[in-house]
Symmetry: C2
Subunit: 479 residues, 2 copies
């Protein structure tokens, strides 16, 4: 059953055409290295199918020969999820970049059907052209592909209002590990006819099949926005403010991002044209956005009213409301500059935990304590999608400090471990939005219950009995 | 392996206590008949466990003896989903009524954790006591249990704004068919660590396990409402109005219910104190509700503005906006009286299709044509959750007319069939919110694709390898 890489390459070329199969090292480079250059591994080849039928044909060819399959979208994973590893048989990478049709937009149904390889930004633009919003928005949106965002259930900055990718997918078309095609593209809000299979594939990180098409949920395009920058004393105050905004603004609350002083200082120091929006210095900062379909003045006045009341209650140290679209943009630019700033400033050991929103202040406090028990006084960055309970708690070393660390890998591991342990104690998770990929496989074994792992392993074995789709990823093998 | 009903009853009594096992016919009656008295079948016994551990113990006792298990909540299914059938070995009914603790409410996290047997209304009340909304709302809320609403992914009148039950569940505790307990109760908005198992159990109609606990998503309690009753010419106009309301009001639009003239006439004729809210007669009627956290005057003025513009555009024949809570209540009472009116007036052959929202006008037109091809001129009722694309299209016979029908079962089957066929041609579904139960098993085989059925059968066989949980329900056996 198991053939060689050469067999499968020849068969793929014979079936899909030589121009659809890449084997030259120079051609493979962009597919086998992740964009941060942290992970790489060999591949048998890269296949570039033009249609769902060609994806299915490629999968059947691999399945018949027992060759692993690695589905790849825009290759923007933050945890090595989209490139080959160094263990096991080199996979055939099935890249979706030629599947980029917007198949249809039904504005009256608030849905669109797209090919899996459509770039997220192209999806957003096609929705906007129909006066609709596809709300999933994240840093990589200019290059990540919709199928990748679905296979990883991507988060981003709009989750508070619109949910994760999962909540914005109504249907899927999937090529299964046996090469059959499941057409589950129905564009329905309600459908109670058996197990809701799409949810198995959303977030499955390519271990159960290849997503070749999707029916997406669209929303009315908000016509007005109001944004505030708020200086405050601590995360507990931020939690209090979140409650006030939610009870006053309901679904209009579309952004609630928390950063600490160090994060703002690093952005100001390392990214050109970024300034402190407030006159004074504050330990913590919130970026709050309201969005709506009504008049902008109404939104702005609601925002100021909540802020005034919060100031009277002593919750807000200082705040500014953007007076124009340019000012709104300037405030958001600070938030969007954190990765650039942190990369320039030093080595941040990123984590991606989520805890109950009510536990965010405790999580930050306990994570700092746990970190300091290992490295007393080490500074930390906090960038949090506070409204989702998703905190990127980042132990931070300047480059000179990092040079002094003897065993860097052990330090990175230790820091991640102590932070994740705190999250676990608070009934949180070790991966909120980045996924598992290659980075967090040990955590799957350490933190998931045996009953849960067993269920996942059983599902994996049922849908991919040859264990060819991303073997060893996401679901730890039975032990 | 397969034992008798007596074995299992004795073992259950020995383990859970005699007072937790019902066997007398008088005691069983309420559990083996559905509330509309359309379905019944024998049961080995009814078990009333007090804890999740007792549920697990009961399941292990059944599993060891190969006795089928029928999980039961409030027994309010509309399609025979909660009572035994007449085929196969009589099941042990596991009723959840003693599992009725509100385990915890975390207002700051907008979540609550509840036992599976909590009545939906009790869940709503506990949320309201914390100044929060659990939004799922439906006719049976006074008796249906939360686990039943989850196992059937219940819909209702708030889906447009808040989604189905599925969208309001963050975590589950499930007793699996082998008697193990999956604790998936995490109260997180984001968690990308493997397959999202809860979605397998939501809507599984008791075929994969027993839901003993749930973490529910709460929302800010809306403080203001505005309701209008609108007379209009046809469903196409309603679709146009829906688009206007969605683009103007965004998430504030919380109800958009369409009924036809016959439905209003029947309510007025058969339910005391119901009156036409408008002076004249109209072919179609809409009940539109906005809800928000701001001032009521703002909402009302938004509602009138949209209506005025629609009137100028010739879309609205007449409309009235409720001027008080009492008037709002009066308008909603008309909508809530449809079942009572239709039962008094005659025999309505209910269907529960959903199509893309944009296809609702075509669906109604084609369904009427298809019905008239069988029974020329037969009147039909329409009650539609228009915003969800969910149309209850109901061929309607007065009692005298129904008496003249020779083969009533054949007529009921034929009417359902022609309506579902139209839905299928429009990429719709044959069950939007009521589920499959006993009524729609043939439709699962007829309308689901072989690939989809095969996936569902594989999942069923993996999680319930002995096929003991609601055997023969929801997922048609392989063959």
């Amino acid at each position: 059953m198991h053939g060689t890489g050469l067999d499968v390459v020849a068969a793929l070329k014979a079936s899909l055409g030589a121009d659809s199969v890449l084997t030259e090292p120079a051609d493979l480079a962009g597919y086998i290295h992740d964009w941060r250059e942290r992970y790489t591994g060999p591949a048998a080849c890269v296949v570039l199918p033009r249609t769902t039928a060609e994806v299915a044909e490629a999968v059947r060819i691999c399945a018949a020969r027992g060759v692993p399959v690695l589905p790849q979208g825009g290759n923007t994973s933050l945890c090595g999820g989209a490139v080959p590893g160094t263990q096991g048989q080199p996979p055939v990478i099935v890249a979706l970049s030629r599947l980029r049709r917007i198949r249809s937009v039904d504005a009256a149904n608030n849905t669109m059907v797209v090919d899996g390889g459509c770039v997220l930004a192209a999806v957003q633009e096609a929705a906007a052209a129909a006066n609709r919003l596809y709300p999933v928005s994240l840093g990589a949106e200019g290059s990540c592909q919709i199928a990748g965002t679905i296979a990883t259930n991507a988060g981003g900055t709009a989750v508070l209002r619109y949910g994760n990718t999962r909540e914005n997918v109504l249907g899927l078309e999937v090529v299964l590990p046996d090469g059959s095609i499941w057409d589950g593209l129905k564009a329905l809000r309600k459908n109670n006819t058996g197990y809701d299979l799409k949810h198995l594939f959303i977030g499955s990180e390519g271990t159960l099949g290849i997503i070749t098409g999707a029916t997406l949920k669209l929303h009315p395009l908000p016509s007005s926005h109001a944004v505030a920058w708020i200086g405050l004393a601590n995360p507990s105050v931020a939690l209090d403010l979140l409650g006030r905004f939610q009870s006053t603004c309901g679904a209009r609350l579309s952004g609630f991002e928390l950063i600490n002083k160090l994060q703002l200082d690093l952005v100001i120091a390392h990214v050109p044209d970024r300034r402190n929006p407030l006159a004074g210095s504050h330990d913590w900062h919130l970026l709050v956005e309201l969005a709506d379909n009504g008049a902008e003045e109404e939104l702005t006045s609601t925002l100021s009213r909540v802020l005034e009341e919060a100031m009277e209650a002593g919750l807000v140290e200082d705040a500014v409301i953007a007076a124009s679209e340019a000012q709104r943009h300037t405030l958001w630019e600070i938030r969007h500059s954190v990765s650039e700033a942190n990369k320039k400033a030093g080595v941040g050991l990123t984590t991606d935990c989520a805890v109950p929103v009510s536990a965010v202040p405790t999580f930050i406090e306990k994570a700092a304590e746990a970190m300091w028990a290992e490295v007393p006084g080490l500074p930390y960055i906090v960038v949090a999608h506070m409204g989702d309970g998703n905190v990127h708690f980042i132990p931070f070393f300047t480059y000179p400090q990092w040079e002094e660390v003897e065993d860097k890998e052990a330090m990175a591991h230790k820091m991640r471990h102590v932070v994740i342990d705190v999250s676990n104690q608070l009934d949180g998770t070790f991966s909120a939005e980045h996924g598992v990929g290659q980075t967090l496989m040990a955590e799957m074994t350490n933190y998931k219950s045996p009953v849960e792992l067993k269920l996942m392993q059983a599902i994996k074995a049922t849908i991919d009995p040859q264990n060819l789709f991303n073997p060893g990823r996401l679901i730890p093998p039975k032990g």
